[in-house]
């Protein structure tokens, strides 16, 4: 089955746009077999494997193997039992009761109890980089060893998604509750005691990880694999060579179109773009709305009209990416289809700039701008910035592309709001409360990368987001987000370009490649080798 088949991809996109759940398509037909080693190629070095204090996909991939979470999610955003057999969100939305599975044990053989769940959730609240995720959590009650009740100060609809493997690893209290600051706990990478399907047996910083099957995993008969090796190599091309030679069996989060084409053309390899709705990565053009002339919404709209997203997706990304039009990724249940868009129209863009008072001078020049881009992802970032420069020149806006030597250099510019335009990629992280609100709330205009560094300020938007963040009824909640999406695409603090074309490339021998909403950042207990 070729997921890159164009008509099929269009159909999928249409289904997503229509708000319909995506069709699960990688179901296995054979009976799973036990054993074997899965070698995973990764370009990112991870700090450690403790997902309770470290977010990001580099840590999430091994962390979700080593630690189990209360719930897991399927490919349609439905919660499924995992460590918790049953769960119920109270009618007032202020408490979530988890009924834990009996007989589940940590990698050291000690039982997993509600005490551990309570400890882990409070540890996440205190240390996890995404503070809004567990923000309203006040305490976790443990009436008995198999019941944990999360009490919250306000209704918090995101709490169920926050029980995901990537966001809520359950740590053993008897190991990590020793009083050491969890952010720098020595056992985040050595002598790790987890609760998930695989145990960490080797951690070589920046080189490789070895995970081995945990024989007493609470789901009987699983996992199928004996071993997972994470091989870290910053050069994605070398990883692909390894995949082609059969040394590596799976590369998640691949985006480079040249490499994706090579995978798609190889009969021994599979390629899927499913499994990335949860992280919801959007490639976008950020405007510094605090600076002239970008403080004028019509100037921002004119700039948007010079950009042909279809060209970017087709020509710059080899057809692997899809244009994005709004702040919520198309695969999310809160995304709406009828957003305000800005089709390519250079003539109208010029007219709007004239009307805004930026007439072209004798040399055809209106004004100068700079554009930054996040380094290290040229195809998604640098090349789009170069394209925007060329397009804006056509309407008399002179853009200077500013390269940053590395991530910290770029992050510094963003944090200090020292930019006019910048290409950027920001993740939704499942619930808008975690990954969307932060960019638009006027209360989050901060000297920190990936906050509201655009200095966008609209009290109506603040109100909409704050209300939606506390609504339990998904339909009502979606209505608020719909209005929010309309306003943001009309006022344009950010011009959305495309969904980051994440793909998982794998050998045809790998079955049950994870394609749930969290995809490769979810447990591989059902993955097996044919």
């Amino acid at each position: 089955m070729n997921l890159l088949n164009f008509s099929r991809r269009n159909a999928l996109a249409l289904a997503l746009l229509a708000g319909l759940p995506a069709v699960h398509s990688l179901a296995a037909t054979d009976t799973p077999t036990r054993g074997g080693t899965l070698v995973l190629g990764s370009t990112q070095a991870l700090r450690h494997v403790n997902g309770a204090v470290q977010s990001g996909i580099a840590t999430a991939v091994p962390s979700t193997q080593i630690f189990a979470s209360p719930l897991r999610f399927d490919d349609k955003w439905n919660a499924q039992p995992y460590l918790a057999e049953k769960w119920s969100l109270a009618a007032d939305g202020k408490s979530l009761t988890l009924n834990l599975r009996k007989g589940a044990v940590f990698h050291d053989g000690k039982p997993i109890t509600s005490e551990d769940v309570a400890f882990s959730i409070m540890a996440i609240k205190a240390n996890h980089p995404f503070t809004t995720m567990m923000g309203p959590v006040e305490k976790v009650e443990t009436p008995d060893p198999y019941t944990a009740i999360i009490r919250m100060s306000a209704p918090h609809p995101a709490i169920v998604l926050a029980m995901s493997p990537a966001l809520c690893p359950i740590l053993p209290k008897h190991i990590y509750g020793d009083g050491t600051d969890l952010k720098v706990h020595p056992r985040n990478s050595t002598d790790v005691v987890g609760s998930g399907p695989f145990r960490l047996t080797e951690f070589k910083a920046g080189q490789r990880l070895v995970l081995e099957r945990f024989d007493k995993f609470f789901l009987a008969g699983k996992p199928y694999l004996d071993k997972i090796i994470v091989n870290i190599n910053p050069d994605s091309n070398s990883l692909l060579l390894g995949l082609e030679r059969g040394e590596i069996q799976m590369i998640p989060y691949a985006t480079n179109s040249t490499e994706l084409k090579r995978v798609a053309a190889n009969p021994a390899l599979n390629l899927t773009n499913k499994g990335f709705d949860g992280i919801g990565a959007i490639n976008w053009l950020a405007f510094n709305t605090a600076k002239k002339p970008l403080n004028d919404v019509n100037v921002r709209k004119a700039i948007a009209m010079t950009i042909d997203k279809k060209f970017i997706s087709k020509a710059l990304h080899g057809g692997f990416s899809q244009p994005a039009d709004g702040p919520i990724v198309a695969g999310s249940p809160f995304a709406i289809p009828d957003l305000i868009t800005y089709p390519l129209d250079l003539k109208k863009a010029a007219e709007m700039l004239d009307a805004a008072g930026y007439k072209a001078g004798a040399d055809g020049e209106r004004f100068k701008l700079t554009i930054d881009y996040l380094p290290g992802q040229d195809e998604q970032q640098k090349n789009v910035a170069e394209y925007i420069r060329a397009q804006l020149k056509k309407v008399g806006v002179m853009v200077d592309v500013r390269a940053s030597a590395d991530f910290p250099a770029w992050a510094k510019r963003m944090a200090t709001h020292d930019f006019d335009l910048s290409m950027d990629v920001v993740f939704n992280w499942g619930d808008p409360i975690i990954g969307v609100h932060r960019t638009y709330l006027s209360t989050n205009i901060r000297p920190i990368v990936w906050t509201n560094t655009q200095s966008y300020n609209n009290p109506k938007v603040d109100e909409l987001l704050n209300t939606a963040g506390g609504l339990l009824d998904p339909t009502k909640r979606k209505a608020y987000y719909a209005t929010f999406q309309k306003i943001v695409t009309d006022e344009l603090p950010i011009h959305f370009i495309n969904n980051t074309p994440y793909h998982t490339a794998s050998s045809k021998k790998v079955m049950n490649v994870p394609t749930t909403v969290w995809g490769p950042a979810s447990p591989y207990d059902e993955v097996y080798l044919k």
């Binding site: 080693t37 070698v39 990112q44 070095a45 991870l46 700090r47 450690h48 470290q54 977010s55 990001g56 996909i57 580099a58 840590t59 240390n127 980089p129 995404f130 503070t131 600051d181 952010k183 720098v184 020595p186 985040n188 990478s189 050595t190 070589k204 910083a205 920046g206 080189q207 490789r208 090796i229 091989n231 190599n233 910053p234 050069d235 070398s238 060579l241 390894g242 030679r245 040394e247 590596i248 030597a405 590395d406 991530f407 910290p408 250099a409 770029w410 992050a411 510094k412 510019r413 944090a415 920001v426 993740f427 992280w429 990954g435 932060r438 901060r446 920190i448 990368v449 990936w450 906050t451």
Partner: protein
């Protein structure tokens, strides 16, 4: 002799101190800080947590204070903890040293032996075909950028003709034990060592050729020949011993360069050595790790230079302690 050792030791320590201070200032001059990198790897981070991390790492204190604390720790032999990995820098370095040593020593030794041999061979008939071929090859090796050569070799010998592995130091699935592992590592070592060694091979062959030609014109060679010694004895015993001195000088002096070259080669071949650790730590603004690796390398270079001095005396007894 004791006085010499003592003065050398003081010189060395002063040099190390200068290296540490200079590196400290340089590293902190780069834009951005480690906490921003960690926030980047996390997909964003709250202000309060960033402040907590900065306080934890002591980044909230004035730079001179940070330098003072660092120097104090180094004096006690403590290289601190990596901000990024939260592991002791000494253990990160310890994990990487064998890989870099294997790469650097193999390539330098191979370059020295082959380079000198080729240089000496070509000096026997300075205008012969062999000499010309070696000349051309040396020139190519000398002028080709290391990273370009490395990539070219990967494309040719790992991709088009998959004779050698693409990258890494071991087979990915290897458990790193036994004789099979040694063979595996040696097999992975071929391309990176060749790449790193070629530049130096070229230099050594040019240098030894020139030195041989120079020495062969000296009076004592004529004397040796006049004494009736065999040409072979004149060549390899009398001439070579003197001709090899400048090569050893360069070898010692260049050790620092070789370490620098290793950064590039390790990056191209994903060789898990110190160079790659240093390079990646710069990208992460992992100050303690960068400083630790640089400190370690400078100590190695200083020690190597002292050893070179010692070698001089062995090769040429006329060089006395000065």
């Amino acid at each position: 002799m004791l006085k010499l050792v003592a003065s050398r030791l003081v010189q060395g320590l002063a040099l190390v101190l200068a290296v540490v201070v200079l590196n400290f200032v340089l590293v902190h001059a780069a834009p951005g800080d480690p906490v921003e990198t960690i926030a980047g790897a996390s997909g964003g981070m709250d202000e309060k947590l960033q402040a907590e991390l900065r306080a934890q790492y002591g980044l909230d204190r004035p730079l001179p204070v940070q330098l003072g604390i660092y120097l104090g720790k180094v004096a006690r032999g403590d290289l601190g903890y990596s901000y990024f990995f939260n592991l002791p820098v000494s253990s990160l370095i310890g994990e990487r040293v064998p890989a870099t040593l294997a790469l650097v020593l193999t390539s330098v030794l191979a370059a020295f032996l082959t380079g000198t041999t080729l240089g000496v061979l070509s000096s026997r008939r300075p205008n012969g075909a062999l000499s010309q071929t070696i000349n051309v090859l040396s020139l190519v090796g000398f002028s080709a950028p290391v990273f370009w050569l490395g990539m070219l070799l990967v494309i040719l010998l790992a991709s088009v003709f998959p004779v050698f592995p693409v990258s890494g130091m071991r087979n990915i699935a290897s458990d790193g034990r036994g004789v099979a592992d040694v063979i595996d590592v040696l097999y992975h070592l071929v391309l990176p060592a060749f790449t790193l060694g070629l530049v130096y091979l070229a230099q050594y062959s040019r240098l030894s050729r020139a030195a041989m030609l120079d020495v062969l014109g000296a009076d004592y060679i004529r004397t040796a020949r006049a004494k009736g010694l065999s040409e072979r004895r004149v060549f390899y015993k009398h001439a070579l011993r003197n001709a090899v001195l400048p090569v050893v000088t360069i070898l010692g002096l260049q050790f620092g360069n070789v370490l620098a070259g290793a950064i590039v080669v390790e990056t191209v071949f994903n060789w898990p050595g110190l160079g790659r650790l240093a390079y990646e730590s710069v990208l992460r603004r992992d100050y303690p790790t960068i400083l630790g690796v640089l400190l370690f390398s400078s100590v190695v270079v200083i020690v190597m230079n002292q050893l070179t001095d010692l070698c001089y005396r062995l090769i040429d007894p006329r060089i006395k302690t000065t």
